[in-house]
């Protein structure tokens, strides 16, 4: 019983951020203020370390077709692909900051061109 309750709580926590991606209160990711704030977060948290100040660095985001859900989850939970790893930022960055960073990334990736 305790395990089921724990599992349910875990699913709620895990699901909350992703669910909000589809909720009405989802921020407007095309809002220029959101994108600008996202670029600030992008620099402050040194996303630019691997992605470059303009997103065209070692791990080039500008050449990729990305979606909001994928970007949010990648920032929040980290990402491991083709042997390279991006740290997880949940609890270091707020959901708002992750949304802002997501807005900036979407503004420079292939999807937006």
């Amino acid at each position: 019983m305790r395990n089921i309750a724990t599992l349910a709580c875990a699913m709620l926590v895990l699901g909350s951020a992703v669910e909000r991606l589809h909720a009405d209160e989802m921020p407007n990711l095309k809002d220029p203020k959101m994108i600008s704030a996202g670029h600030d977060v992008f620099l402050e948290k040194q996303c630019a370390h691997c992605h470059g100040e303009d997103g065209k660095g070692g791990v080039n985001l500008a050449r990729r077709a990305l979606d909001a859900k994928g970007v949010f989850v990648s920032i929040a939970d980290g990402r491991e692909r083709n042997g390279i790893r991006m740290p997880a930022w949940r609890e270091v960055m707020s959901d708002q900051e992750i949304w802002e960073a997501t807005a900036y990334v979407l503004s420079i990736c292939q999807t937006n061109r």
């Binding site: 070692g58 083709n82 042997g83 997880a88």
Partner: protein, 553 residues
């Protein structure tokens, strides 16, 4: 009959070549094994085996291949080989013992890592294990020391050495050093909001005996609060010198990397070679190579030991590419020479005093072109010294970077953000004179005189191996493994390993046969950052593979 005699003679030569112990010659002890990170206590990365040599290296072929499991951040280890058994560590601190003749797994061990390691900048890789006292020792990416039974892989002890949860990613990415009955563990720091430390631990029990703070508690060296997150650390293995019972370490850079306005002292003991008593952690001497560094020129690279003309010497490369030749007993300077002429961060370093001459400071919020780049004139992958040629072989990096210091908040729990005072880690660019970005360079280790150099379109990032067979083995990020004539630099053999190389190429012998063992698995921060300079690296497949070669019979 004649054929049988010939075969018998050939086998006899084979066995004698492989098993003769040239104990009197430095670097030649324990010839069939690779018992520690840089093989011998002088850290030469020289194998005295000569069964594989200039005449037959063209017949080198694959003996076996083993996969290490998780490929995250590649395979960065230098495998240890003792009495025909390979001790290997791959991503996530997964340890395995393998049969040196077949590559088959004898046992494996995987620690349960603190989930915080997913948030940490320097994780989840390791550069090797250490072996001694019948145990395998590892430093983990969540700040623990762990000992395993050498025969079974069963855990013997473990100890939490860093306050991992509260200290900005204080972890271990390199093996400890076996220093007699003690182990010494050097922590990461440098780019982290932390004070990097070296820990002394009893090998038999795991009991922590001492810790040495690489950030000196001295307001003249670290004004105000500047040392609180001063960085430093010792993130590569040190060298244990049993002759003087000393463990030598090179230390990491000060933080914030590119901003020195708040740390106007010399920032000891960052960017230094330090000599410690392994029993007590007491500092015997230090030699700082870069005072008040703003270019990220750490000093954690291998500390090599030599005896020359009656003197005991250290040869040590700083990331800047300046090589320091020091008196082993006190750190006094014997010589300083640069591995590359591509350098503009200073005009020079004074050969007498070690003072930086004409240093280039970095204005805030503006880009400044600095050579070499933050990868250095060589990365952490060790060079190799061959006593037969008298040459030291290194993968030189000949490219630059634009550095732009900016204001940065400090959050010790922000494990993922580097404490660098920058948005990025330097915008990499080719050298202004258009030269190729890297080369394998053969130099006299004391004077720097260059004997030969082999230019590369993609620079090498693997630890070099040199052997008594007159060979140098080197691997590149594209997967090209090459054997060179150690005297001339002529390419004698090459092989595509399928993924880039970042670990250490080693050699060993078992049952009369010499092997070349190559870790293949492109990863590390080079894999993240280098595609900005060399786009072809973006497509290199990841792997975690050990490939053993021998000469076909």
């Amino acid at each position: 009959m004649r054929k049988a005699l010939t075969i018998g003679f050939a086998v006899g030569c084979l066995l004698s070549t492989v098993s003769i112990a040239l104990a009197a010659e430095p670097g030649s002890e324990d010839p069939n094994n690779w018992p520690q990170y840089n093989r011998t206590t002088n850290a030469w990365r020289y194998s005295p085996l000569d069964q594989i040599n200039k005449d037959n290296v063209g017949k080198l072929s694959v003996a076996w291949i083993a996969h290490g499991g998780d490929i995250t951040m590649g395979l960065q280890e230098t495998p240890i080989v003792i009495d025909g058994v390979i001790y290997s560590i791959s991503s996530g601190d997964k340890v395995a013992a393998l049969d040196g003749k077949t590559g088959q797994t004898l046992w494996s061990y995987e620690p349960k890592l603190d989930p915080i390691n997913k948030k940490v900048l320097f994780s989840p890789y390791s550069r090797g294990v250490a072996v001694g006292h019948g145990m395998i020792f590892i430093g983990t990416v969540d700040g623990r020391g762990i000992a395993l039974d050498q025969k079974t892989g069963q855990e013997k002890w473990q100890v939490q050495l860093t306050d991992f949860a509260n200290c900005h990613g204080c972890n271990f990415t390199s093996p400890p050093v076996v220093a007699g009955d003690m182990l010494t563990f050097g922590s990461t720091a440098g780019e982290l909001a932390a004070q990097g430390k070296i820990f002394g631990v009893e090998a038999a029990t795991g009991k922590k005996v001492w810790e040495f703070n690489t950030i000196k508690q001295d307001p003249a060296s670290w004004p105000g609060e500047s040392g609180k997150y001063g960085g430093g650390g010792a993130w590569m293995p040190g060298t244990y010198d049993a002759e003087t019972d000393t463990v030598f370490y090179g230390t990491g850079n000060p933080g914030k990397d590119f901003v020195n306005s708040e740390r106007e002292g010399d920032n000891l003991y960052t960017d230094s070679v330090i000599a410690l008593d392994p029993k007590t952690g007491k500092l015997k001497w230090y030699r700082q190579e870069i005072a008040q560094d703003v270019w990220d020129y750490d000093a954690p690279y291998e500390v090599m030991l030599f005896k020359k003309n009656g003197k005991d010497l250290i040869v040590h490369m700083n990331k800047s590419g300046f090589v320091f030749v020091l008196d082993k007993s006190n750190g006094n300077i014997e010589n300083i020479w640069p591995i590359s002429d591509l350098k503009n961060f200073v005009k020079d370093i004074d050969r007498e005093t070690g003072q930086l001459v004409g240093r280039v400071e970095l204005p805030m919020n503006k880009e400044t072109l600095i050579c070499p780049s933050t990868f250095g004139a060589r990365s952490w992958n060790s060079g190799a010294y061959n006593p037969k040629t008298g040459l030291w072989y290194n993968d030189v990096l000949d490219f630059c970077g634009y550095l732009k210091p900016v204001d940065q908040k400090v959050d010790p729990k922000d494990y993922g953000t580097g404490h660098t005072g920058s948005n990025d880690f330097g915008r990499l660019v080719m050298a202004p004179d258009g030269r190729k970005p890297g080369r394998l360079s053969a130099n006299d280790p004391f004077t720097g005189e260059r004997k030969w150099s082999y230019e590369m379109d993609v620079p090498g990032f693997a630890c070099v191996l040199t052997t008594a067979g007159g060979l140098v083995f080197n691997g590149d990020p594209m997967g090209k493994l090459q054997a060179f004539d150690a005297d001339t630099g002529k390419v004698l053999w090459n092989f595509n390993t399928g993924s880039g190389m970042r670990g250490g190429i080693v050699s060993y012998a078992v049952d009369g046969e010499q092997y070349i063992l190559v870790p293949s698995g492109w990863g590390s921060y080079a894999a993240l950052l280098m595609p900005a300079l060399l786009p072809q690296l973006e497509k290199v497949p990841a792997a975690s593979t050990l490939i053993a070669f021998k000469v076909s019979k």
